[in-house]
């Protein structure tokens, strides 16, 4: 279990290799990577800035990760979330779960990103031709999180 909030980019290959290294009980690794899109809500986005609540962010991410381990038999998991100024195409978030079996790995990965999106205190501000705007929370994200009960 590991949680990191950082301004720097992450190296996906290196992070995943470290996550599974030496544990030959792992049969499946589920991964989700979120990236900055250059269009959102029909408007072009030239840059994005991510604000967060230091301290509470890490607590929430750790709590979400503990919940995933309580629900699925995971060998390892990782959440990395970037903050600060980002550009289209940049990595935002990496979520990964390793398990003996693929279904647990993939389900736990979906659960982590769904819960993160509704509980972890991050806020996105996008630069558009009409100026900067705070991204509105999406009802679809609440629905996605709710299906995990």
């Amino acid at each position: 279990m590991a949680v990191r909030v950082q301004e720097e980019d992450f190296d996906i290959g290196r992070e995943l290799a470290a996550l599974t290294a030496g544990n030959h009980a792992i049969g499946g690794l589920g991964v989700f990577v979120g990236l900055v899109r250059d269009i959102a809500g029909g408007q072009s986005v030239s840059a994005m800035s991510l604000e967060h609540y230091p301290g509470m962010t890490e607590r929430q991410l750790e709590e979400i990760e503990r919940e995933a381990h309580a629900r699925w038999p995971l060998d390892a998991s990782l959440i990395i979330h970037r903050v600060g100024d980002l550009a289209p195409g940049d990595n935002i978030v990496l979520v990964a779960c390793a398990s003996a079996h693929r279904q647990a790995a993939l389900d736990a990965t979906g659960f982590l990103i769904d819960w993160l999106k509704t509980r972890a205190p991050f806020w996105k501000r996008e630069d558009t031709p009409d100026g900067a705007r705070w991204v509105d929370a999406r009802e679809a994200d609440d629905t996605a999180a709710a299906r995990w009960g």
């Binding site: 609540y53 990103i113 993160l116 509704t118 972890a120 205190p121 806020w123 509105d136």
Partner: protein, 83 residues
Amino acid sequence: MKLMYFAWVRQRIGAASETVEAPAEAATVEGLVAWLKTRGPGYAEAFKDTRAIRYAVNQEYVEPTHPVASGDEVAFFPPVTGG
């Protein structure tokens, strides 16, 4: 009591955090909000629609009826949009 503001709540109030001595009637999160709204137009603007605000006391989500005490860290922010 330490108050923290994030995203557009922070921008409307014009501060990221402040340390206040809240009056006795501000004994819950919603009591605190009612008092903050009297402190200036930025506060009134930030809290004009409280359905759009989420609350945390000591870094845990709470309901508006949650009690607050002098040593608490109380945060106000919009629904989260990370990931």
